[in-house]
Symmetry: C2
Subunit: 421 residues, 2 copies
């Protein structure tokens, strides 16, 4: 943690200085740094675990609940998984230098729109040391310098991991300060980081709603908000109800703690009495707490379904709870989703092409599914590789934020003396 | 101006409501509305000119300087030019529904990344009635509803023009409230508009730095800042000096009031004594006020070149003034441009491929030119059609903001019952 004495400003400027070298480095060099990083992570596992043990033994760590403590904890297997993740990022296609458009203009100018790194990306995150390595690797791959602002709970682990990343950069002939740490839990430091206009090009918060709200208030640097997901599965009257049962169950239960899991099940009134008893029994047996509207509760058969409050329809539970509603029409389903959804991932189960087309056209979300679980919204599943988060905003990136989304474009225009008439 | 009694919130909600119909309308319908708009502009020219005369006769208009008054003034020719601009926008390729990516995923899902409208775009602008029509047409073309917040100086003209746009929408069977006016010069209304999260999807300011600073302070809705341009022409030692003279002159003089005109001329020390006297004479004779560093002034021959202050290097004159500097190397030129430029349009004149490649790779700007005037950064010149501005930011859009940049993407994913394992 040699960096703690420096100000956020100094750290950001150092990253900015290095970003030019990183951006100019060929893909082979950036990939070599990543391969070396994967090797070093394995070689230095003992050092990282020692640092991690220090974080876990710290008296402050005693205040963490079991889930947070689990996220902070590293072991051989988790470090091996980090290394494997880095190798996979190294193997992704290089987004830098990709030509998005190329044409000869009326003036005879040769125009190319090429992908270039953003410059300096800052990532603000909670006590999850793996984020240190994942985000550094995604930034190195995309030619960006990175400023990491982790949690002070993970300071020792992050310090050990960042030292390894920097050593890998140096071994590949790249500047160490392309990866900088801005440690310290002060809110004033967050504000300082989020106002480094012209030095930091993008801030990505990976954390809860409190962190995002804090950033919204102070940031002048562009921020890409990783999403919350209030996702729906709608079962249309014209649908394979066995398929609907599998999809609804999977969307809720397969991994309830992530943003692309479903929070609400909507069912067409025409099939609710046939459909609901079975799926609600499945969900209830799996341990899902159920709440619903009047018609859903009436159709629930023997399954206990509580009364849904107004707030339930807008809540991302991130856990084993689901809201169930009955709607009269496709229109009502689309309206409900657009009103309550967070624009993340929405699914319809239907055998009607027309209903599927209307749902995908009219639902306003990053990903809209026909006859599949919402759980597929993910960089790996989409064939884009590792992601730094999922965006529900509409500008720049919508859906998985992968290495390509960490780049911008530049028009490079070559002439033979053209002037404007 | 039937809309003035309604709040910014009401106006935004009305636009949002209509945005769904506009977004779902086929391209042919949106284009028909634009063709009708062009017709109506010509048919109703007398009405528009009468409204415009009212704005010009208003006592407040007396306070406008000649340039602002000119921008506010409409005539037959200017209205015909607006109509022609609208016809050209109608003729652009439709960005909505464009498929950016399409693949079958490992899970068997069919994934398409399709372009969709943003939703509601708000444009805030000064007393230029043509912006009312240009921006409305770009939004209709891209399937977006628009909230126009013009200047109260142009309220009558804007009201007449917006009424024509709304009539054209209605004639094409589209909702009139897809184009809404939020009149009123109060800063509190600007803040209200810029905080319509979930209703307004994007705010675009078309105005001076004061407006942008005001928005930066209050906006929670995403803002796309149209650029200021502190652009440079660098004359490398290995270059065709006659070509350099034409390019530097064109970049400054051809239209000095726009953002892609050059403000600074940098010349390699190796050729400054040969090059500067000629170009400085050209510029001076054209009426350009010149300031420079010590070496530029010494090489200026008989031409009067004042002393450049620190501030000059960072100033967008938007007029007939230019700063001239001598640099020792390509590195120094690149450093200077990256330090002082606003990231808009930068040019090198060189016969060296190596120098051209380094300049285009290392200069961080929306558009980088080799052997051409900076004046080409423009939607029309780039073959993208009309633009709503030029972006110097790195996220979402960099360079001309055309109809494609007014869209976002949506992943549409079709399955046969896939669930995540």
């Amino acid at each position: 943690m040699a960096t703690t004495a420096r100000s956020v400003r100094d750290v950001s400027l150092a990253a900015s200085e290095s970003s030019h070298d990183l951006s100019a480095a060929p893909a082979a060099t950036r990939d070599a740094a990543l391969v070396r990083l994967a090797e070093l992570l394995v070689e230095r596992t003992a050092d990282v675990l020692e640092a991690n043990a220090g974080d876990l033994a710290d008296e402050r760590a005693a205040s963490l609940d079991a889930a947070l403590r689990d996220r902070l904890t590293l072991d051989d297997e988790r470090i091996a998984a980090m290394a494997q993740g880095v190798r996979e990022i190294a193997g992704l296609p290089d987004p830098v230098g990709e030509v998005d458009e190329e044409r000869t203009l009326a003036s005879g100018l040769e125009m190319r729109k090429v992908r270039v790194p953003l410059g300096v990306v800052a990532v603000v995150y909670e006590a999850r040391p793996n984020v240190t390595v994942d985000c550094a690797a995604l930034c190195i791959k995309s030619g960006n310098a990175i400023v990491l602002r982790g949690s002070s709970y993970a300071a020792r682990s992050n310090g050990a991991l960042a030292a390894i990343v920097r050593e890998a950069l140096a071994d590949a002939g790249l500047p160490e300060s392309a990866v900088e740490m801005a440690e310290g839990g002060e809110r004033s430091e967050l504000a300082e980081l989020a106002t480094q206009d012209g030095v930091v090009d993008l801030v990505i918060p990976r954390g809860g709603e409190g962190l995002k709200a804090a950033l919204r208030e102070v940031a002048t640097v562009p921020v890409m908000y990783a999403a919350s997901g209030n996702c729906h599965v709608y079962v249309h009257e014209d649908s394979d109800l066995e398929m609907a049962r599998r999809i609804a169950f999977n969307a809720k239960v397969q991994r309830p703690g992530v943003c692309n899991s479903a929070e609400t099940l909507l069912v067409s009134a025409a099939v609710s009495e046939r459909f609901l008893p079975g799926i609600l029994e499945d969900l209830s047996e799996a341990g899902v707490e159920l709440v619903g509207d009047e018609r859903a509760r009436a159709a629930a058969g023997d399954v206990l379904v509580g009364e849904a409050t107004e707030a339930d329809w807008d809540t991302e539970y991130l856990g084993m709870k689901m809201t169930v509603g009955v709607v009269d029409s496709l229109d009502d389903a689309i309206d409900h989703v657009n009103r309550h959804g967070s624009g993340h991932s929405e699914a319809i189960v239907t055998s009607s092409d027309e209903a599927g087309d209307r749902f995908t056209a009219e639902v306003d979300a990053a990903a809209v599914y026909v006859n599949a679980s919402t759980r597929f919204t993910d960089g790996y599943e989409f064939g884009l590789g590792a992601e730094i988060g999922n965006s529900t905003q509409k500008l720049h990136a919508r859906g998985p934020i992968g290495v390509r989304e960490l780049t911008t474009t530049k028009y490079v225009v070559r002439g033979t003396g053209q002037v404007r008439e």
